[in-house]
Symmetry: C2
Amino acid sequence: MSQTLTGKNVAFLATDGVERVELQAPRDAVERAGGKVTLLTIDELAVKTFDHDQPAAVEQAHGLVGDADASDFDALVLPGGVHNPDSLRTEGAAVSFTRAFFDAGKPVAAICHAPWLLIEAGVVRGRKMTSWPSLQTDLRNAGAEWTDAPVVVDQGLVTSRKPDDLDAFSAKVVEEIAEGSHAGQHA
Amino acid sequence: MSQTLTGKNVAFLATDGVERVELQAPRDAVERAGGKVTLLTIDELAVKTFDHDQPAAVEQAHGLVGDADASDFDALVLPGGVHNPDSLRTEGAAVSFTRAFFDAGKPVAAICHAPWLLIEAGVVRGRKMTSWPSLQTDLRNAGAEWTDAPVVVDQGLVTSRKPDDLDAFSAKVVEEIAEGSHAGQHA
């Protein structure tokens, strides 16, 4: 793969309950393309990943989102898992950090249940998106145009449904981050 | 406790990931008051309960919701847990079974994350409710009037936030089921 992301700083935001492969696969793709990944979390740096409802590896985060500045990053990637975004959306620092990427027109990617955090950030109205199917009513009620597809790209916003979609998701994550800011990516 | 629920058939609906105490405490309260409890589920009768994100007891359900008829029951109780309602809301039989209680004006009680299933059933618009706080934006976007309180009762709809609220929740569950159908309980 060409080093299309050289010099790009990419934030990943996740906490306990994150779906392991949805953290690892896009992170590997970003790093293979030359990007630098910083894993941010809430509460404690040790992040308990899960394979569906079974505990998996513990990942060490680089820092707490409450101490981070969105302006230091070129893009944001949000892995899924059920407990993970359900916890993140109740933390003001996670919500405002996420919203800052939309305010700045920077690429954001979210897979599986992660779009719950985008609902909380108030950034989905009028956006074309997909997600794990259980979220479709919440996303439509928040104003999103939800479709059932492996990956949906809308002006710097990349969304996918589940681990089976990771190849398509990771490819679009790299592509959108390489393109940089999008005029249509807004809060 | 007086046998205020003698002759009342109460359905509980849950699947894997249900919060153990949110199933057991209201069930005990209904049974102590003389009510008959039928635990319904989806997929498989063995229901894996959790204590937050840790696997707990396996409960044996009495039947599948797809084989059940809401008209056989006087009320519906929905325990929480994160994975549980996230799965139930994607099953058409669980959604239509839930909606049928509102169509008939029968009492429905939901705690913690269970109100996601009520969003999916399209029955929360204009209703006073509470829930685990992560759901408040989803509930407001669906038209509910969300408040932060241990228990909220609105015309046969009983909602609570978390395990700490179970004493208040279970007491109101028994009280509302004893009262029977409510004219203001509607889809």
